[in-house]
Structures are given as structure tokens and as C-alpha cells.
Amino acid sequence: MPLIRDNDLVAQDPWVRVDDGAALPEDGTPVIVSLGRWRAERETLDGRNGRLGVVLKAGDDAAELAGDLERLSLVALEFPKFSDGRAFSTARLLRGRYRFRGELRAVGNVMRDQLLFMHRCGFDAYEVARDDALEAWTGALSDFSAWYQTAADDRRTAAQQRGECAAPPLSQSRARIRANAAAASAPPAPAVSCCAGDWAY
């Protein structure tokens, strides 16, 4: 399955998903196991000479991994279907509350229309079904250039951009440049200079 990481298609995913009951690879291949297997075979897994990842199903509680995250290089979160948004919150907890800094991978039903939201919630890798995935991904990334709320990413929020604006020199963030371009091409909107009294109503 194609994998996108750090805005790029990964040619060869080094990680191997090992099903419950299946044998672990003899060598140091990095493996992803279920939460159940991690709990049951922690010692064996710990003793292996290779990186470790755990996959959480949508109903699994991230708190169960809280004490183990130091030892994990990857956590995969499963999206069982388009409408099931639990993994978005699990991701926020892993990044925010449990300070997980390893790879956070979206697996399962990973849709183009949700990639951007996933990224905002702290995911940095995505197993996608289609092989034109990279195009879809970069396409989805450019759908929006401004956001209202803080999340797990470092996109500047509208409020932060407004704050920046008050203190020259202006930060010409990508979003800001696009915003101005969009405003200039949107017919009835008056020409807007970034700092002009546009917010002074």
C-alpha cells in the first residue's frame, strides 16, 4: 500500500505489520503489532533487536500506551471508515497529552478529503489506497491556506496571523500571500492591504 511521509511518497516502507499469532521476523525488521499482542508479548518484543510500532484500533484507548511510548518508534491509528473520526482525537492525545514524538501513521480507510485534517491532528504518515496518492495529497494540502483553530501542527491560525500583522514588519507567510491573492481575485471584495483598517469595524 502506498505510503506518504513527510510530503513524499515512500518507495519502500521499512515497517512490517505482523498479525497476531504470526511469527516475528528473525532479523531486525521494524514491526507493527496490535495493542493486544504488545500487552501479551511485551518482553519478547522488547528483547528484539529492531524498532517497534503498535497499531491501535478505533476503540482502543491511547492511555494504555502512555507508559510505553518511549519504547515505541511508531504508532499506527486505524480509520475503520470515512465517518469514524475517533482516531483524530486519539492522535491529539498521543501528541498532546502523552507527548509522543515518533511516527504517527494513519491506516485503514484513509481518504484524500481527510488528509489535511489528519495532518493537523498530528499524523505524519499515511497509508493510502490509491497510487496517485501523492498528487491527491499535495492537492488536498493546497485546498486551504488559513485556519481558525490551533491544533497539533504548526500552521499559523487566522488569529495569530492577525496578531502578526499588527506588528510590522509583516511576516509574509505562504498563507498570507495566498490570502491576499485570493482577496484580490474575489470580485466584490475591496482591495485589501494586509494591515489596513480592515479589522477595525
Binding site: 465517518s83 489528519m118 488559513a146 497539533a152 487566522a158 474575489a186 479589522w199
Partner: protein, 556 residues
């Protein structure tokens, strides 16, 4: 009123281009209907019985005259010349063509409006008191907080695929006109013992199949913590709300099953962790100040009270006098008043307005109310800041457009969902029943004599017409013989004294239902003691007398 800046405009404009692209892909056959469906729903576009319906957000029910004109323009250009104001303070167009939907969204964006999150399992339009910023009994204007919530919830990356739709309401007044207790989250601005203003937080209210009044989980939340606390509630719900059964997926069911105390404990735990580990949402005081400044009070330069002239006008025109008594409310500033424009003419479909009427109201708003208009959850419109001295002129102008119906809060001011005339979930029609009830009680004198009375009607258990919280609630049900049936509930109300109505007995047929309403009204009037409202009478005498008079014939 909040004005979009370049960033707000960018976000909405980018959404329009995104949807234009998605629609083009659908029309070209690149997207299948089931792939397109969630995308169009997120833009407020429903497929109904006869056509597409587009639901446009009117954030917290506040509109400028320019926006109202844009809505009128859309009604003319893309619909059949009218729009329907809903119980969620939004407007719906019922005759939309798919290929034109992106153009409608573009026209909305030009006016600083959108249809974002008017559908789908996400945070919907935040609603509030239609008199916000004008009401005499208000502690503080809730709208800056509504706007903050609007921004925070728009394209929220974590909360766009919730177990079910999610509705937040905010009230800033002593009398709760926003029905906060029947929302997933209800926020009530209150003053703490120390004199600070913050929020009382309620969760798990809602109507539908399992009606619940919201339960308080925090008696006082400092304002600066609002978004963090909301995120904590949303996160607990998003993770633990049921997803296996659509009828049990609302937050009220989670609160029921955990218990209010346990739910509150989980929310508080997450709220503390957010601060401890530094992932609470941030809102700078500067941003709150920027938003708040846009809701500054408009003040008329010369707003002397109506005085003798108004008294004389009222004395000379009984119709005007009646309208002032029902449709004009006290403003917080002396000499100013709040006018509610009824969209419930006798025999008309509740909540409908023609493009001409919308333009007329925009015109009046410009002349008399600082260009400001509100929509109400009772499906009426409001001119929030008029001078008492202008009331007579406003009333006359409204009359020329069929908008001077003096029935606010009276028996013919019926809240009613679209029902089977448009909605594919409906069991029964609702609009024609509302029309027949209002015709039965057409006589203005009789309505005044009956006094305040809320009839609310839904075409199915989804309860878009809020029937559980009507003095008289009517719910469309399937009758065994295949005909339309209406189940009646009595004694509900949506304000701070909230209560859910109780079913009175067997459902009525379409032929019986208007008589049944009249019987209930008659029983109330016959039994009420000096000035009692319906609730008071109902609570005092109980359901029995109503049952007797309604079902007397069944006994024989």
C-alpha cells in the same frame, strides 16, 4: 456586527473553489453519488423529495441588510422567489439545482456567508438569543462568544467526523430565549460570587427520539477557558460517543450512560491535562478584543421615548396597539425598542419569506435599525435596534408587505418543520396543519384573549419543530391505517424553566387535529386562574382535564 476580514474571506472563498471542483467531478461522473454525498452534505446540500435543498448558515442568527439582500437575490435567481427560515436560525432554499449550487455558494461568499457545516456529523451553526445585544434583561452580549465558537468550530480538524451532529447554544440573558437546555452544549453567561462573568456549562440536551434537558457540569467557567473546555467535552464525546447505533449517538446518550458526574469528571480531567501538557487551544486576548469590538452597541443619536405621540398612535390604531403589545420587546436603552417581524401570517407557511419581503426588511433595517436583522428559532425576524418614535412608521411599512401580523408568541405563531411537503424523513405533512390551525384562530381579538401559547410541530421524531418543548406539541406519526396521525404532547417549554411535554393519549387524525388543539386551548382558558400561563395551569390541574375533554367521545 462581525465583518469578515481578508482571512475570513479567504477561508470561505477556498471552500467555494473546493466545492466547485467537487461538483464538477460529480457532474462529470468522476465521483460516484455515495462519494459525493458526504462532501455535498458538508456544504449544506441535501437531496430532498423533489429537488436539492441548500441550508445556508446564519451564524447566531445575525444578518446585515446587505446579507439579507443577498439572500433575496439567491431566492430570485436560484429558487422560486422565496426562502424558508428554520428553527436553527438558518435559511433553506428548497428548489436548488446541483449544477448551480457552487454559484450560490459563491454569491453567499460575496456577502460574507456560507453553508459550511449546516449538515453532517460536525459542530453546526451556533445559536443564541435573537435579542442578543439589545435585550433589557441581558447580562452580556453572547455574540462575541458565538463568533469565537463559529471560528473555532469551522473545519475543526478533530471534530468534523463526530458520532452525530452537534449543536451549541449560548444565552446571555436572565430569560433564556435560546433554549440552551435542549442543545448538546448549552452555555449561559452568569456572574460568579466574585462578580466575574463566565459561563455555566450544560451538556446533553436535545430533542428527537430521546428528549433530554441538558445537565450542568460546570457552574462557572472563566471566559478565557471557553475553547479549552469545549474541546475537552468534544474530545470525550468524540472518543466515547456511540457509533454503532445512529439513534444512540448523540452526546445526551453518553451523558446518560456515564452519568453526569462521571462525564464531568472525564471532561475536567482532559481539561486539566490540556493545560498541564500545553495542548489547550489558544485564543489571544487581542483576538477576543478584536471580535468583541465588532459587536459594539449601535446607539441612536436622538432616541427619545415614544412618549405622547406613541400613546396617541396606539390609542387611534387598535391594530397598531395590538402589534406593539405582542411584537415589540423592551430594549436595554431607553427610547429604543426591539421589533419582531412575524413570518406567520394567517394561513401562510410558517417561516417563509418572499424575496420582496426580504428586500423590504433589509430596507427597514437600513432606515431604522442600523442595518441589522436577526432570525429567531421561532422562525421570525427581528429588527433589534429601532427608536420607539419610529415604531408606527415601521408597522405601516411592514403592513404594506404582509409582515405586520400581530401574533408573536400567540397561538398562531406556530413553529413548524418542513414536513412531508419537502422532507424525505417525514411521516406527515406539517405546514398545512399549521396553516389550518392559524386559520382556526385567525381572529386577532381571540388570540389576544388566549394569550401567549406555543404550538410546535414536527413531521417526524427528529423533532426539527421542537414539539417536545411546546405548550402544545404535535408530532407526525405513522397511523396503522396508513393515514397521517398527530401525537399530542402538553406542558413542554424550552426556557430556563425547561420541561419536556408529556404525551396526552392516542394520536389524532389529520381531520381531528385542529379540533383537538382548539379543545386544549379551550380547556386551558376555562381552567386558568388570574394570568396563569399554560405551564402554570397545566402543572396545577394536571393532564386529566385535558384528557377528559379530548377523549370524551372515545369513552362512549
Amino acid at each position: 456586527m462581525y465583518q469578515y476580514d481578508v482571512l475570513d474571506r479567504t477561508i470561505v472563498a477556498e471552500r467555494v473553489s473546493q466545492f466547485r471542483d467537487q461538483t464538477a467531478r460529480r457532474l462529470a461522473g468522476e465521483l460516484a453519488e455515495d462519494e459525493f454525498r458526504p462532501l455535498r452534505l458538508m456544504n449544506g446540500l441535501y437531496l430532498q423529495l423533489h429537488a436539492y435543498m441548500l441550508r445556508v448558515a446564519i451564524p447566531y442568527g445575525t444578518l446585515s441588510s446587505g446579507q439579507m439582500r443577498a439572500l433575496a437575490g439567491i431566492a430570485r435567481r436560484f429558487d422560486k422567489g422565496y426562502g424558508h427560515f428554520t428553527t436553527r436560525q438558518n435559511i433553506q432554499y428548497n428548489w436548488v439545482k446541483l449544477e448551480e449550487a457552487p454559484d450560490i455558494l459563491a454569491a453567499l461568499a460575496e456577502a460574507g456567508m456560507h453553508a459550511i457545516q449546516t449538515s453532517g456529523n460536525c459542530i453546526r451553526n451556533t445559536t443564541t438569543d435573537q435579542f442578543a445585544g439589545a435585550a433589557a434583561d441581558e447580562l452580556e452580549d453572547p455574540r462575541p462568544w458565538c463568533e469565537l465558537i463559529r471560528q473555532w468550530s469551522t473545519f475543526h480538524p478533530e471534530f468534523s467526523y463526530l458520532p452525530r451532529k452537534f449543536k451549541i447554544a449560548v444565552s446571555g440573558a436572565a430569560h433564556d430565549r435560546a433554549a440552551v437546555a435542549v442543545h448538546d452544549i448549552g452555555l449561559h453567561l452568569v456572574r460568579s460570587g466574585e462578580g466575574n462573568v463566565g459561563f455555566r456549562v450544560l451538556v446533553g440536551g436535545g430533542l428527537g427520539r430521546t428528549p433530554r434537558l441538558a445537565r450542568a457540569i460546570r457552574d462557572f467557567l472563566p471566559k478565557r477557558d471557553l475553547l479549552a473546555y469545549l474541546e475537552a467535552i468534544m474530545r470525550v464525546y468524540n472518543l466515547h460517543g456511540r457509533r454503532d447505533n445512529i439513534f444512540k449517538a448523540r452526546i445526551k446518550i453518553l451523558v446518560d450512560s456515564l452519568g453526569t458526574e462521571e462525564f464531568a469528571r472525564q471532561v475536567e480531567g482532559e481539561f486539566r491535562a490540556m493545560h498541564e501538557f500545553g495542548y489547550a487551544p489558544e485564543t489571544s486576548p487581542a483576538e477576543i478584543a478584536r471580535i468583541t469590538a465588532q459587536f459594539a452597541d449601535p446607539v441612536h443619536k436622538r432616541a427619545e421615548a415614544g412618549g405622547e405621540t406613541l400613546d396617541r398612535q396606539r390609542a387611534e390604531n387598535p391594530d397598531f396597539d395590538r402589534w406593539v403589545r405582542t411584537n415589540v420587546a423592551a430594549h436595554k436603552r431607553a427610547g429604543q425598542a426591539i421589533v419582531t417581524v412575524s413570518l406567520k401570517p394567517v394561513g401562510g407557511p410558517p417561516g417563509d419569506a418572499s424575496a420582496e419581503q426580504m428586500d423590504a426588511i433589509a430596507e427597514l433595517a437600513d432606515r431604522y435599525s442600523f442595518g441589522e436583522i436577526r432570525t429567531t428559532h421561532a422562525q421570525n425576524l427581528v429588527l433589534p435596534h429601532v427608536r420607539e418614535a419610529d415604531l408606527f412608521a415601521i408597522w405601516q411599512a411592514l403592513g404594506r408587505h404582509g409582515l405586520a401580523t400581530a401574533n408573536l408568541g400567540l397561538v398562531s405563531d406556530i413553529i413548524c418543520c418542513p414536513g412531508l411537503d419537502y422532507c424525505n424523513l417525514a411521516n406527515t405533512r406539517s405546514i398545512p396543519v399549521a396553516q389550518r390551525i392559524s386559520e382556526r384562530f385567525a381572529d386577532a381579538g381571540r388570540q389576544a384573549e388566549i394569550g401567549p401559547l406555543a404550538i410546535k410541530m414536527s413531521g417526524c421524531i427528529n423533532a426539527c419543530g421542537h414539539h417536545h418543548v411546546g405548550d402544545i406539541g404535535l408530532l407526525g406519526v405513522d397511523k396503522k391505517d396508513g393515514g397521517e396521525g398527530y401525537q399530542m404532547t402538553l406542558g413542554g417549554r424550552a426556557d430556563e424553566d425547561g420541561a419536556l411535554g408529556a404525551i396526552i393519549g392516542r394520536a389524532f387524525s389529520s381531520d381531528e387535529v385542529v379540533d383537538a388543539v382548539e379543545t386544549v386551548v379551550g380547556t386551558y382558558v376555562a381552567n386558568r386562574r388570574d394570568g396563569e400561563d399554560f405551564t402554570a395551569t397545566y402543572r396545577r390541574i394536571g393532564a386529566a382535564p385535558f384528557k377528559e375533554s379530548l377523549y370524551a367521545a372515545d369513552q362512549g
